[in-house]
């Protein structure tokens, strides 16, 4: 438990650090720019428009853009946060200065003040409440957006939040979300208080700001726990799982410098040598695309993850023909077929629809849609390529073999969201993995899970039985492939270092 609270403290500091380093830079850039466009008003339109456009880029997309340029980690996160903080600061500096009465400015000039004196003695102090309001907005935005920094291995409270979402662990989500919300509220209140302070008292306080920002920013630079010759990038989900980082530590005794990163960018980061070891999925198409190799799990800590559709028993009664149709796919897709299908969507950028159709035609299962108008079956999927493809296949099979209509709700962000949607009758079925069902959704006694974790059939039977009893949800027949966790590294590096299993990796790390 103390480990977790250390982690929380550490993440909070990282979060503060990210927020304030970027805020400091945003003020350092935004303030002079705001002053500049207040002088050259003709430029104000275009500068504010550009800052406005930058602001509208979705945060995850912006983080994604940064990776090819700045890699992963703190740098791209800080730049992205800086970009979000820029608009309110530039705009408020501009508005604040332009809003000062022309008489006061004229008086300042007529008294014989130089341009710099007018700026520092009159314009900035008078515009300060407005500028501070901008800094306040930027701070709150940054505390929020900084949670996403964990996607690109920059740390922060997002590690808990996204870890919690993938692990179906509400406490973990709250452990990240509550401190993040509190940070936003507290910082906002502090800045609001400063904003309302008497302008006069405030003149001296002003200098505290840059120092404060730098000190808070410095939290981020606190020394990291330990270094090692190789760097691993694990997803937030992997970090918190017994069959993930925890197992690597306890079973293999693996000590490696680890950063937390989103699986969306992990493979590319490994390819670009930002990372050496990543926690991938064994059927992921990017394995092929980025020339990665799987390290053998010689002590067997990763349980099997056989995919099968799970469906509400109520839906099975409602749509009697459905079970047969969904089982058409049972046993049809092996690991290598799935990797190939994933490769086509992830790397060749073919649409999931096309990949699904090609496959169904290839094994003679495709029938054109009957165009029936009975009732609607709702298919869910998680937010990664493989699930999109499976959802498409099921859609085509249902349309081709029954008179039902289909609504797909794809891209549900993580196991918890998907499963909650199923429990709350928002969707009828979605493809789930036996290992996830066991370890994330059922969470049995560790002894129970350990006993059957490595046996495909006993896991399947256990989850089938338990889901039926506990949730009234039925596991249909497995599709065939096993999408388990796997540690991966670049093929070339694996050869160079002669590391091909987790044990040899651990031995290599101990030596270097």
């Amino acid at each position: 438990m103390s480990g977790e609270s250390d982690k929380l403290l550490n993440q909070t500091f990282q979060h503060l650090g990210l927020t304030f380093i970027s805020l400091f830079l945003a003020v350092a850039i935004g303030l002079p720019l705001g002053i500049f466009i207040a002088r050259k008003r003709k430029l104000s339109g275009s500068v504010l428009a550009v800052a406005g456009v930058l602001q509208t880029i979705p945060s995850i997309a912006l983080l994604g853009f940064m990776i090819p340029i700045l890699g992963i980690g703190a740098k791209p996160a800080i730049v992205a946060l800086l970009i979000y903080a820029l608009l309110p600061i530039i705009r408020n500096t501009y508005t604040g200065i332009v809003g000062i009465s022309t008489e006061v400015k004229e008086a300042a000039i007529a008294m014989g003040m130089s341009k710099m004196q007018v700026l520092f003695k009159v314009e900035l102090p008078l515009a300060m409440p407005v500028i501070l309001a901008g800094v306040r907005t930027a701070t709150v935005i940054n505390v929020g957006v900084a949670t996403l920094a964990s996607y690109i291995a920059a740390g922060g409270l997002g590690e808990f939040i996204f870890g919690g979402i993938s692990l179906n662990n509400t406490n973990m989500i709250l452990a990240g979300a509550i401190p993040a919300a509190l940070l936003a509220i507290i910082l906002d209140a502090i800045l609001a208080a400063i904003q309302k302070m008497n302008v006069k008292k405030f003149r001296k306080t002003l200098y505290i700001f840059p120092i404060l920002f730098l000190v808070l920013g410095g939290f981020y630079l606190l020394p990291k726990a330990y270094g090692s010759s190789l760097t691993a990038g694990f997803t937030p989900e992997f970090m918190g799982r017994q069959d993930g980082d925890l197992g690597l530590k306890s079973v293999y005794g693996l000590k490696i410098h680890t950063i937390v990163i989103s699986d969306a960018v992990m493979y590319q980061a490994a390819y670009e040598k930002e990372l050496d070891i990543i926690s991938g999925y064994s059927t992921d198409g990017r394995l092929k695309a980025f020339k990665l190799t799987i390290l053998k799990d010689d002590k067997g800590i990763f349980p099997p993850y056989y995919a099968a559709p799970i469906i509400r028993e109520a839906s099975l009664k409602k749509f009697p023909e459905l079970e047969g149709v969904l089982n058409l796919l049972a046993g049809k897709i092996t690991d290598s077929i799935m990797t190939d299908l994933n490769y086509r969507t992830d790397y060749l950028h073919q649409t999931p629809e096309r990949v699904a159709k090609d496959f169904l035609i290839g094994c003679g299962l495709y029938k054109s849609a009957k165009g029936g108008k009975k009732s609607v079956i709702r298919i869910g999927s998680k937010i990664f390529g493989e699930q999109y493809i499976l959802a498409e296949m099921y859609r085509m099979l249902i349309l081709g073999n029954t008179d039902y209509e289909v609504a797909t709700k794809t891209g549900l962000g993580g196991t918890k969201i998907c499963f909650d949607a199923l429990m709350n009758d928002q969707i009828d079925f979605y493809p789930e993995y036996t290992g996830t069902g066991l370890l994330v959704l059922l969470k049995p006694d560790p002894k129970v899970s350990k006993k059957m974790a490595h046996d495909r059939d006993s896991t399947y039977q256990y989850v089938s039985r338990q889901f039926s009893q506990k949730f009234n949800i039925k596991w249909l027949k497995p599709i065939g492939f096993n999408n388990s966790y796997a540690l991966m590294m670049r093929q070339k590096q694996s050869k160079d270092l002669d590391v091909n299993s987790i044990t040899t990796l651990q031995q290599y790390l101990d030596k270097n």
């Binding site: 008489e103 008086a107 007529a110 008294m111 003040m113 102090p125 302008v199």
Partner: protein
């Protein structure tokens, strides 16, 4: 002291000031008078380089202002504005001390001068730590005046200094202004659109219209030797009261009956007819004055005054 030669200025190709030339002597109070948009404020602001002229030269104290550092020039010229232009984030004391600070006076000298000036301008000591918004409009305007006067500049530029005040406050501040010792030695250029104000305060008036000077001269000469119909028309509606303002009791001496009553209030012979009329509180009341040359006193009531003024006026017009 101040000299403008063929000074012109256009804004966006629309001429605002057209080849204006005039001279202000040391200690003189010149008033730029005219309707809105006549170019008077532009002319004023060119003197301390708030606006740069397109053509012509301006010299202050014999030096071409173009050749001077604008900041140093402005520190030597007091400037009073219509809406006072006080810094809202500075206290009264700090506002007044702006120029001394720029001139790097020591703290004590600044404070002594600030306090002395505030006393002269009837601003109580306790205002020194208040912020401008805590004062009345009249008090703010006095602070604005103090700020302009603090470094004792030889030249003072005033842009509608009483323009934002209500009539009552305005009249009383104007009176104080006239009486202020501090201002007597100064060369003042002041802008106003208020004819009464111009006639009350000016040594000379420069009447402007559409960027040009129509007539420049003493109030009396504008009234009695108008250069054009424009000048006559400009003053027409207020002619009678202006005549009251430019005529002093001294001027009327010969038209007043010889009379001396014991209970008359003694007044100064420099008093304008306008001010003398204001002295009468009731119809029966009498005032008395003596001229400088003859040690003799004449007393008069309101009737005597109007009769004498009419005689004087008829004679003046026929001269």
């Amino acid at each position: 002291m101040i000299k403008l030669e063929k000074v012109s200025k256009s804004f966006h190709n629309i001429p605002a000031v057209k080849a204006v030339s005039f001279e202000v002597k040391e200690g003189e109070n010149l008033i730029l008078l005219g309707t809105s948009g006549c170019g008077k404020t532009t002319t004023l602001k060119m003197i301390n380089r708030l606006i740069a002229p397109d053509h012509g030269t301006i010299t202050v104290n014999g030096k071409d202002i173009e050749q001077e550092n604008p900041e140093l020039l402005r520190r030597g010229i007091g400037y009073v504005m219509q809406n006072n232009g006080l810094f809202p984030h500075y206290t009264v004391g700090e506002n007044i001390a702006i120029v001394p600070q720029l001139l790097k006076w020591d703290r004590k000298k600044t404070l002594d001068r600030t306090k002395a000036l505030m006393a002269k301008l009837h601003l109580s000591d306790e205002y020194i730590n208040l912020f401008p918004h805590e004062l009345s409009g009249g008090q703010q305007q006095r602070v604005g005046l103090a700020r302009a006067l603090v470094a004792d500049p030889a030249v003072l530029l005033m842009d509608e200094p009483f323009g934002a005040l209500d009539n009552v406050t305005r009249a009383s501040i104007r009176k104080e202004f006239k009486a202020l010792e501090e201002l007597k030695r100064k060369t003042i250029v002041m802008v106003t659109h208020d004819i009464q104000e111009a006639f009350e305060l000016a040594d000379r008036i420069c009447l402007m219209d559409k960027g040009e000077i129509i007539q420049i001269g003493t109030p009396k000469s504008l009234l009695y030797q108008p250069a054009s119909d424009f000048v006559v028309k400009f003053m027409e509606s207020e002619r009678r009261s202006l005549e009251f303002r430019v005529t002093t009791l001294n001027d009327l001496w010969h038209h007043l009956p010889v009379k001396n009553s014991a209970n008359a209030t003694v007044v100064n012979s420099d008093l304008s007819v306008w001010d003398a009329l204001n002295c009468f509180r009731s119809v029966g009341q009498e005032i008395a004055f003596s001229t400088d040359e003859i040690q003799e006193q004449k007393s008069l009531n309101i009737n005597d005054l109007t009769v004498a003024f009419n005689h004087y006026h008829m004679q003046y017009l026929h001269e």
